[in-house]
Symmetry: C2
Subunit: 192 residues, 2 copies
């Protein structure tokens, strides 16, 4: 488990990937830190939802019993160029298709809500050693128009936006957002 | 502790406040649910950040030891009329002034970041049985221009925006946002 809210004050430009996991979540957390440190976006991983059953307040509020809860929303959210951004990171083991069972029904409803209210929602899918931004809009259309229970890799390649790994950043998903949502981020209405 | 991500499917329009706490967090959580159910905004309380020390995977991933972590961001965030919204709820016991020690330094930095990137950030302060929306901009100006360690209640009354309690909603803070951030929420750039 990672707790990305602990932003390191002295961010190292070069991250040593040799001695650590190269998993999707780490690469995205690194990018979030990089973007924050370089004032490019403010995007955090939400804390893992945990149900607390028992707390020992005598010993400084130690939690003695708790359990992991199913998330209703997506893992990451924040702001980029004045726009609300929310996304989830999904590692896909299958080489041929991305199972929709990876996404909970309430997460799909949540994506619908975000889009309806003018936000940007998407998945970052890791598959066949490639990374793709798959737009929430395309996900909803696929679910609506298909009876398939998985998205073929060929379709992800076709309509997804490839994301590049960068040694300084991690997965440089802001570039993917710029590409996928052209015209994002005019600031006409940011009066506050 | 509350876990607002469990949105009830059958939302009761009339909430019985007789048998429950009327504390600020409940009243805001109720409003978030109301706004979501009525498709007015998508705003959630973030899960409480918890550091997990020990998990028993043999018995279905029961957490045996964990601790509460200090939040780096504000408690609530989401989207309203296409705008990024983030805020924190603060109950103030003092009747004369709101102590700035209620807000952590990294939360102040976070407010700065949000404003810089075109988002809306504020506090909801409960004080003397009244509720106020206090803009992040005003908070940063106060901290910059004053050596005081607390905001006088008179100033909160003067430049804050009063929020009304509504039996159907809870604390109707969207009205406060409309008032405090006039012109919020044109949708010219929501192309996704």
């Amino acid at each position: 488990m990672k707790y990305p809210n602990n932003i390191k004050k002295n961010y190292k430009k070069e991250i040593n990937y040799k001695n650590r996991g190269m998993d999707l979540e780490n690469l995205i957390n690194d990018a979030c830190k990089y973007y924050l440190e370089h004032d490019m976006a403010v995007i955090y991983k939400k804390p893992t939802p945990i149900g607390v059953v028992d707390v020992d307040y005598k010993n400084g509020a130690v939690i003695n019993k708790a359990y992991f809860k199913e998330p209703s929303t997506l893992d990451y959210n924040g702001i980029y160029k004045g726009k609300y951004i929310e996304f989830d990171a999904k590692e896909c083991v299958s080489k041929t298709s991305f199972p929709l069972s990876n996404i909970h029904l309430h997460q799909i409803k949540h994506i619908e809500h975000i889009l309806k209210h003018g936000g940007i929602a998407f998945l970052i899918i890791s598959m066949n050693s490639n990374y793709y931004l798959f737009k929430g809009d395309d996900l909803l259309h696929f679910i609506k128009d298909n009876k398939r229970k998985s998205i073929p890799y060929s379709l992800i390649q076709e309509i997804g936006y490839p994301l590049k790994f960068n040694y300084n950043i991690g997965i440089d998903y802001l570039k993917g957002i710029d590409e996928a949502y052209k015209g994002v981020g005019y600031f006409e209405n940011t009066k506050n």
